[in-house]
Amino acid sequence: MQSFELIRPRGIDGILSDWHPGDAFIAGGTDLLQLMKNDVVAPERLTDLDNSDLHAISLVDGSLHLGALATMAEVAAHVDVKREWPVISQALLLSASPQVRNMGTVGGNLLQRTRCGYFRDVGFDCNKRRPGSGCPALRGDNRELAIFGGSSHCIATHPSDLPVALMALDAQLDLAAPGSGTRRLPLAQFYRLPGDTPHIETALRPGEMITNVVVPPGPHARNSLYVKVRDRTSFAFALVSAAVGLAVSDGVIRDARIALGGVGAMPWRLPHVEAALRGQRADTSVFETAAARAGDGAISAGLNKFKIELTRRTVLRALRTVAA
């Protein structure tokens, strides 16, 4: 790790006013320190967010507010989250390990960098890490990489589970920047697809930070769940995961939300599958018909081709389970 300075300002105002180009924020540090040890990033200064007062989990007018510094473990165990937004709790409990969940934060998890092995090893070329150097993953070992949203420059996936659940729930982010107050942005507009600038991953402006996540309630949120398929039983990233929420009354699907993890350059929403479900009866044949379209638009780079079929099956499993 290269040397850096650590500053520990108090409160969000202090944090923002102390920000300087080249600085990085550190919350749980579980991803940032891995990247720094691997020399993938080498910030000159870290701003410690421990004293940011952004740790709260609260309900505001029925919506869930997750402070950016709330830990994954705290959110997963929160009684309101478990009752009203179970998919969030489940996604978190299927993430990483208990130790990591005690450290990792909501904001940090949203900003976790891809697990693409080419990105994380500076011995490889990588357009995301070194723009213009090339993407060896396209013709290399791409078994875990994206089938949705990739480009000819990058097929890295977003690795986290929490934002998949949040994407399905139409969450919004509060973002605060030095000198320009706070703005609220839908999570769907937060992530950027790689295109020809894979090094730009989010809509965050210089010095801007996530302060809060707002999740609206609803019957689809209350009846939601997370299915994660991986290569070992626990402590592994998703090959494919699905966050689903179904609002069903009188046997009819009133609302449907589906987002995928492990397959997209960003958490990947499936609006066409949701549309195929809305207004239909909540039964297996409807689920099968809808889930069969879950792989529509997917592009395989070779070794990740199995994910297209696995996506269909994962969505079907999630729908059948949440409706059961």
């Binding site: 697990r115 092995g117 290569d231 039983t233 402590f235 199995f306 696995l310 099956r313 079907l316």
Partner: protein, 729 residues
């Protein structure tokens, strides 16, 4: 008798309190830190290394490259280029520089700023690209076996047989990934070198280092009281240990080098990728008529060394079969040198043989267990020698009974729990019983404790415990009055902890030394006997509870040692394997029974139940032996379902060189495991009757799982690991 009793491991208390000290945890004064720099190309030469920026960084003491590294004595060395002795690159991840700084953080930061330029050359990074270059291994199985074998006429038998199975099985590159990364601390005092290093073989490390640095063996001291797992990758003195010693000499102070987890994928060997062709022929009753097992394994470029994965040795002896042929070829490519990894040869080879046996059972519509019993061997089919001991039949019987094998229904997909597919599978396990010369020494101290000393290692297998047990029994001492010293090259030499031979090699030496010490104590006691003993002779005496007990009176060990006015009374023994063992084929055996549950849609495979019955000879320490059996099965579950080192074909660089992406089993992957000891003592190999335990329990695990997966799904997986993408059909 303490031997055979279930006791807590003697070093356990140090381990649960965090006080056990591993190689990286010694602290010679003024120690500096070193970090390796590795190549990012697979072939070519180093054109130049720019160390200017790195050297100017805080705390940097020196940067060693092939340009300024000392020249070593490479005569007889098995691994050449990674020791900074030349400019050529033979694999991606080869060591090209070493940065030494005052603190670890400074060394790490500077290592990341060393700039290496290459003249890359065309590399062959994948074995499949060079199959036409396959060659006969130059040094197969350390000269203990021939690469090819032929008994009878397998080709002719194959042609005329009623039933044949022919299939190709492949196994990937796997890495040992012990939890303790390779670590060395080196310290020079003139031309005397002390290294604290994580090794399975202190004697080998001592010899290699002495040879490379051109100093007498006595000048090198290797210390390693605890090893944080080895599984084969700490069996050889790999380059990092030597480089640390070079660095220490260069900066003239002690230096520590801990290999990073990523560097563990390029610094200390791996299990080679194999491609194995298996042909079986049988008559309609399932009697084997022919076995042909041809193995291809990758190895490194010859300049780095050669290692030949011996996949076919078990096929030569496991079943009664009149016609058996085997061959081994290696394919040299631009990858590092492979090495032994838990159950080398057998783990990969028995995946092929025992999968093929299952395929034959399916073809014959015979129960797979019955097929094994129909071909039960009473002698080694290739050498013709009798087995020194074999309890395999009992392993099959007891394992099958405990597992409930008879409840198996034959058809694939026929056993379900709701929608979940259940499959059961079995496989045979075998591993040779090895033994090497070893020596030991025991000292009876004035405080009445015995110190048992041997230059062996305890890699977690329980060597501290078993050495104490044997000595305690012979000397009539309670365990708490026996202390064991090992892991120091100044102790009497013993072989490396590999090949499952530590118990069979070291314990006879300890036993012999203990018997001699007992005799010495008798002689001392009889020199000034208590009056009550009268004319008692040695045969009237016995040792118990710290005293020499004779007729009507006793003398304590404490009195014996103190009245001689010596620091201790000592006996030593050097023992060699019995010549008679050459006339026998010596193996441990086992039967593995697996149940898997396969998700009918997502095709995830979960091992849900396991029974393993093992003939591992006489068991000295049941508690630690059972742990090894369980551990071997867990290791095998990893091999079967998840482990694979994945190489980028273009660069020859490993894509998943970390333990988050190179998956090994976690706690939730492991089912309830029942282990059964079938103790068929091997009294030919040692009077103690022991066989090896470390490797045996992982043999056959991958096949048992593959067979169970077939039984659950009807899909035959011949390419490890069995990940769900291969089952999404």
């Amino acid at each position: 008798m303490i031997v055979g009793q279930s006791i807590e491991r003697l070093d356990g208390r140090l381990k649960v309190t965090g006080r056990a000290r591993y190689a990286a945890e010694f602290k010679p004064p003024n120690m500096a830190h070193a970090v390796l720099v590795q190549s990012t190309v697979a072939a070519g030469t180093v054109a130049g290394i720019d160390t200017t920026a790195a050297k100017a960084m805080p705390g940097v003491l020196q940067i060693m490259t092939s340009a300024n590294a000392e020249k070593l004595n490479l005569k007889g060395a098995s691994v050449l280029q990674p020791l900074l002795q030349g400019n050529e690159i033979f694999h991606n991840g080869q060591h090209v520089a070493i940065v030494i700084a005052t603190t670890l953080q400074q060394a790490q930061a500077a290592a990341a700023r060393v700039r290496v330029r290459y003249n890359p050359a065309e590399a062959v990074t994948m074995m499949e690209a060079a199959l036409n270059q396959a060659s006969v291994p130059r040094n197969f199985s350390n000269g203990r076996a021939e690469p090819d074998s032929r008994t009878g006429d397998p080709d002719a038998a194959m042609t005329s047989a009623a039933v044949r199975v022919e299939a190709t099985y492949t196994t990937p590159i796997e890495h040992h990934n012990p939890m303790e990364p390779h670590a060395t601390i080196a310290s020079w005092d003139g031309d005397r070198l002390t290294v604290w290093t994580a090794t399975q073989g202190i004697s080998g490390a001592q010899l290699t280092l002495a040879s490379l640095f051109g100093v007498p063996k006595e000048n090198v001291t290797v210390i390693c009281p605890f090893v944080g797992g080895g599984f084969g990758c700490k069996g050889t003195n790999w380059p990092p240990a030597t480089l640390t010693a070079m660095a220490a000499r260069e900066v003239n102070r002690p230096v520590k080098l801990e290999v990073t987890r990523q560097q563990m994928f390029t610094s200390n060997g791996y299990r080679a990728r194999t491609i194995q062709k298996l042909k079986l022929a049988a008559n309609k009753d399932g009697k084997l008529l022919a076995i042909q097992h041809d193995g291809l394994a990758q190895t490194s470029m010859p300049e780095v060394g050669e290692f030949a994965e011996a996949v076919g040795l078990a096929s030569r002896m496991l079943y009664a079969c009149p016609n058996i042929g085997t061959s081994h070829r290696v394919v040299a490519i631009n990858q590092g040198l492979p090495t032994y990894m838990r159950a080398p040869g057998e783990a990969s080879g028995m995946f092929a043989l025992e999968s093929a046996m299952d395929e034959l059972a399916v073809r014959l519509a015979i129960d797979p267990l019955k097929l094994r019993l129909a071909n039960y061997a009473n002698a080694d089919a290739t050498s013709g020698k009798p087995f020194s001991s074999k309890g395999l039949r009992e392993c099959y019987e007891k394992g099958a009974a405990a597992f409930g094998w008879q409840r198996r229904t034959q058809a694939p997909g026929s056993m379900r729990d709701g929608r979940v597919l259940i499959g059961v599978g079995m496989a045979t396990a075998t591993y040779p019983t090895n033994r090497s010369p070893a020596s030991a020494q025991i000292r009876m101290m004035p405080d009445g404790t015995a110190v048992v000393r041997s230059g062996t290692q305890d890699i977690g297998t329980g060597t501290y415990t078993t050495m104490a047990q044997i000595a305690a029994d012979v000397l009539g001492l309670p365990l708490e009055r026996v202390r064991v010293e090992l892991g120091d090259s100044r102790l009497p030499p013993a072989p490396g902890s590999g090949g499952s031979m530590t118990t069979a090699s070291v314990l006879p030496a300890v036993q012999s030394a203990a018997i001699q010490l007992r005799d010495k104590l008798f002689v001392l006691a009889l020199a000034r006997p208590p009056a009550a003993w009268g004319t008692a002779a040695k045969s009237d005496l016995r040792l118990e509870n710290g005293v020499v007990q004779g007729p009507g009176a006793q003398v304590s060990f404490i009195d014996l040692v103190t009245r001689e006015a010596v620091s201790f009374v000592e006996a030593a023994a050097d023992v060699n394997p019995d010549a008679a063992s050459k006339d026998h084929s010596s193996h441990a055996f086992g039967a593995q029974f697996a149940e898997v549950r396969v998700d009918p849609d997502l095709r995830t495979v979960k091992v849900s139940r396991w029974v393993g019955a093992f003939d591992c000879g006489r068991v000295i320490s049941p508690k630690t032996a059972r742990s090894q059996l369980i551990g071997g099965i867990v290791f095998g579950i990893g091999m079967a379902l998840m482990e694979e080192t994945r190489v980028d074909a273009e660069t020859g660089r490993t894509v998943n060189a970390n333990i988050a992406d190179y998956l090994v089993p976690v706690n939730a992957d492991v089912p309830e495991i029942e282990t059964i000891f079938v103790e068929a003592p091997d009294l030919v190999t040692t009077g103690l009757g022991v066989k090896g335990i470390g490797e045996l329990p992982m043999v056959g695990v991958a096949a048992a799982i593959a067979n169970a997966v077939w039984h659950a799904t009807g899909v035959r997986i011949r390419d490890l690991p069995i990940r769900l993408d291969k089952l999404l059909v």
